[in-house]
């Protein structure tokens, strides 16, 4: 059991860490002079390019699929499993003919969602791409390197179309599949699969992935405390000293602060949209849900470029200034407002998803009971609905914070010299080859995210709710 928990927590690490952590560690471990590839095995592997990118993206994104499937597996009615056994199916046949088909929508949803994330990923291609360029990095280079906003916008259009298409297909598909429902009171828990033929290969695979994760995050932590991991392994605190003096501490404070501002707004907006979608709106619920989920569908790169273009200049009309510039160096709050807006847009879907899922579980009769006892709609929401979806709100908040702290592709286009963001600082450290500093940044970022998540759990769990909060799947 302890082992199960351990594997679960390890699987979530990539969600709470910045995208560079994995990529940078992989370079250190498997790159040209890599600790494992070169020093241990004497090999010359080329991690730059498609192969390395695939490995890193897989490691970074599998937790989302894992959480999706975990949620689905938990909500499967165990009596289906038993019905199948009672009709003569052995464990493998139960899995093949009942469990797997019921999970297919989950697989498909994860696949399509991660496709959107992967196609638009910027951080990993920048670090690991080598000669292999992707659309997102082209857009980045066009804007940051060549000051060509138009070209950047064009690239992001090319990016937006397939991402949106896939997203729409995924939604259409999962709506059609929503027929797969769960019924009945669970009578007893499903027994564990005990056949060794099935267990050993699966456990071996899990062990390999876990070993990889442990090595990678070990590298990140260790890397912050030595000069250049794998080259000069002398212990030093210089990396952290560099961080806490100078611009590093600035970035740490600003990023945490902005994420803390965005988190509750995103969480509450997400819940509100979920409530409107599930409970209040009859017509237009689909549109509302779709709009809320756009933060997932629109690639971060596109969102960032869009914000940079839209809010860089103030909005003037009839000789009066209606909206001042929100993004860029000359903007109000030194551009912080645009950053918070990006955080919110990117984080709403998490809260909305878990909110919708939680609300759909609630029997409408509970709502009606409250109404018939004289409560207004708002009172019912406050006194009945909110307590019932508290765990969903918690996981929404948790995910919103983690996502805000670790997002890069959207942020990179709108940070300004006066509002520094940790992820973009990490990128410049990596690009300058100062891996020690990058590792130190990553470690601190992970610690901040875990601390805030821990505090959130403490604050929200309070009274007697037993359900263990987990970070929700990004979408289902």
């Amino acid at each position: 059991m302890a082992c199960k928990k351990f594997v679960h927590l390890l699987s979530l690490l990539p969600i709470v860490s910045p995208p560079f952590a994995v990529a940078t560690a992989v370079i250190t471990l498997f790159g040209r002079g890599g600790i494992i590839s070169n020093q241990l095995l004497g090999q010359q592997w080329n991690v730059y390019g498609l192969g390395g990118l695939t490995l890193v993206l897989a490691l970074s994104f599998f937790p989302v699929a894992y959480l999706n499937l975990l949620g689905m597996l938990r909500s499967l009615d165990p009596s289906l499993d038993e019905a199948s056994q009672s009709l003569g199916a052995n464990k493998w046949q139960v899995f093949r003919t009942v469990t797997l088909p019921m999970l297919i929508p989950g697989f498909a949803a994860s696949f399509l969602l991660l496709f959107v994330e992967a196609i638009a990923d910027l951080a990993n291609p920048l670090v690991l791409g080598g000669d292999f360029t992707v659309l997102a990095s082209r857009a980045y280079i066009a804007i940051i390197g060549e000051y060509n906003l138009g070209a950047g916008a064009a690239y992001s259009m090319v990016l937006l179309v397939p991402a949106l298409l896939v997203f729409i297909v995924q939604r259409y598909w999962s709506n059609r599949q929503s027929a797969v429902s769960v019924t009945g009171k669970p009578a007893g828990a499903a027994k564990m699969n005990t056949s060794n033929a099935a267990r050993i290969p699966v456990l071996a695979l899990v062990a390999i992935v876990m070993a990889l994760i442990i090595t990678i995050y070990g590298t990140v932590i260790l890397g912050g405390f030595v000069r250049i991991l794998g080259v000069n392994n002398a212990f030093t605190l210089d990396n952290y000293r560099y961080l806490f003096q100078g611009i590093g501490s600035d970035a740490i404070i600003t990023t945490t602060l902005l994420a803390l501002i965005a988190t509750p707004i995103a969480g509450i907006l997400g819940m509100l949209i979920a409530w409107l979608v599930v409970v209040k709106l009859r017509r237009g619920a689909g549109v509302m849900d779709f709009l809320g989920m756009l933060g997932l569908a629109v690639p971060g790169t596109v969102l960032g470029i869009g914000y940079a273009i839209a809010y860089n200049t103030p909005f003037d009309a009839f000789g009066r200034r209606f909206i001042p510039a929100l993004a860029g160096g000359g903007a109000i709050f030194a551009g912080a407002m645009a950053i918070v807006m990006v955080y919110i847009a990117r984080s709403i879907p998490a809260g909305q998803r878990s909110g919708v899922a939680a609300l759909q579980q609630i029997d409408p009769a509970i709502d009606e009971a409250s109404t018939s006892l004289g409560a207004s709609g708002l009172t019912t929401f406050r006194k009945v609905t909110i307590p019932l979806i508290r765990m969903a709100l918690l996981s929404g908040l948790t995910y919103a914070f983690a996502r805000s702290m670790t997002t890069i592709s959207a942020i990179i286009f709108i940070t300004t010299p006066r509002t520094r963001i940790m992820t973009s600082q990490i990128l410049s450290e990596v690009e300058a080859g100062r891996f020690g500093n990058a590792f130190a940044y990553c470690t601190i970022l992970i610690i901040i995210v875990l601390t805030v998540i821990g505090l959130l759990n403490l604050a929200m769990k309070g009274k007697g709710s037993s359900a263990a909060p987990t970070i929700p799947p990004a979408a289902a």
């Binding site: 009596s79 038993e82 003569g88 199916a89 019921m102 429902s181 009945g184």
Partner: protein
């Protein structure tokens, strides 16, 4: 309605002599250390081939756990499940020739009705032609052919129930297991379904174990009812025996309604009767064998065995009757129910097919009589 001819055809080569199920000291404990719960406590039961057995009892008495141990979904802490002389304990659920019908129906939501019914046969790798034929018969016997191509969630609860039954039947099981299969249906449909299930089961002669906490369901369907309490079997007997000759106060109280009169045992006769004293009067009543040696006995009188006779002012209460005052009188149409205050405490009486002019008003003085032949003497402690 079910199509018995089709069901017959489906099961034509099932041998009728098999399906003898024995539970031997079957025990299940959950948890360990101080938190141990004994859900099923050394249950012994012999079930004849073709018998319809109902497990009946209050919530939490271990019915579902017993059923799940028979099916193999729960590993017993001790004891045996023996089918036709073979101990099933080490046989996994999918290898047991039993089929279970679930309370939630547990239809596979990703499969059409036809594929749900065909599911088990496909696993048996039946040739396509035979498979189709048997699935058709299964659908036909439960009268659900017209829904064959629908998804389960496009069916009503009753229709889903029929699919679940068809899916179990096509497996030609030696034992059918039911866990409250009708509890999600409305009252009308429930009555109809229980008749259909009973008719089909009796016709096909498949040994059946049926869990319910609805006593009218148990009474109307079973060959034998097994009344359970706190994981133990209180009594296993035919419905009329359970009702008329309960072995314990618990059974008498749980099944139907009961008046318990305090009596003194005078003599226990060998012919299954005893002589007791009820408020100064000696009566001879049928008695449970255990009543002979019991420290304390009670007399069970069902409300419908009680007669009330109006008493006019000044009249004496005749011999064999007890004076009482009607405290409540409720007219149900087919019956009138009274509560009468007597020296025995409150007695409930039910009069069937009442003549409206004979109904006793609340507050009326009455004489309470009961049919001695219908009373039942039993020990107070189980």
């Amino acid at each position: 309605m079910t199509d018995l001819a089709a069901a017959d055809q489906l099961l034509e080569d099932n041998s009728p002599a098999s399906g003898r199920l024995s539970l031997v000291a079957l025990t299940k404990q959950f948890g360990n250390g101080p938190d141990t719960v004994t859900a099923v406590d050394a249950v012994d039961l012999e079930i004849e081939p073709g018998e319809f057995i109902t497990l009946l009892g209050p919530s939490g008495c271990g019915k579902t756990t017993t059923l799940r141990m028979i099916a193999g979904f729960e590993d017993p802490t001790g004891g045996e499940v023996v089918l036709d002389g073979r101990n099933m304990i080490d046989t996994p659920p999918n290898k047991r020739p039993m089929a279970m019908v679930f309370q939630s129906y547990a239809l596979f939501p990703h499969l059409k009705v036809r594929d749900n019914v065909a599911y088990g046969l496909k696993l048996r790798k039946l040739p396509a032609a035979q498979l189709n034929e048997e699935v058709e018969l299964g659908l036909k016997s439960m009268n659900i052919e017209q829904y064959a191509n629908r998804a389960p969630n496009q069916l009503s609860g009753g229709q889903q129930q029929r699919v679940a039954l068809a899916r179990a039947m096509v497996m030609k099981p030696k034992v059918l297991l039911f866990d409250e299969p009708l509890s999600n249906l409305d009252a009308k449909l429930r009555e109809q379904m229980r008749l259909e299930i009973r008719r089909l089961q009796r016709h096909l002669g498949i040994t059946s174990v049926y869990v319910t906490h609805d006593q009218s369901e148990a009474m109307s369907m079973s060959d034998r009812i097994v009344v359970m309490n706190k994981g133990r079997v209180e009594q296993a007997a035919a419905p009329e025996v359970i009702y008329r000759q309960p072995a314990t106060v618990f059974v008498a109280d749980f099944i139907g309604r009961a008046n318990f009169l305090d009596v003194t045992l005078l003599s226990h006769d060998d012919d299954g009767h005893a002589t007791v004293e009820v408020l100064g009067q000696e009566v001879r009543v049928p008695a449970h064998p255990d009543a002979a040696g019991a420290a304390d006995v009670v007399l069970l009188v069902r409300p419908e065995s009680i007669r009330l006779v109006a008493v006019r002012e000044g009249d004496e209460v005749a011999a064999g009757g007890h004076a009482g005052t009607v405290t409540t009188s409720v007219f149900f149409g087919d019956t009138v129910e009274y509560e009468v205050d007597t020296e025995h405490g409150t007695i409930t009486a039910v009069v069937a097919d009442p003549n409206v002019s004979d109904i006793h008003e609340e507050g009326a003085k009455v004489e309470v009589r009961f049919n001695e032949g219908r009373a039942w003497l039993l020990p107070r402690e189980g």
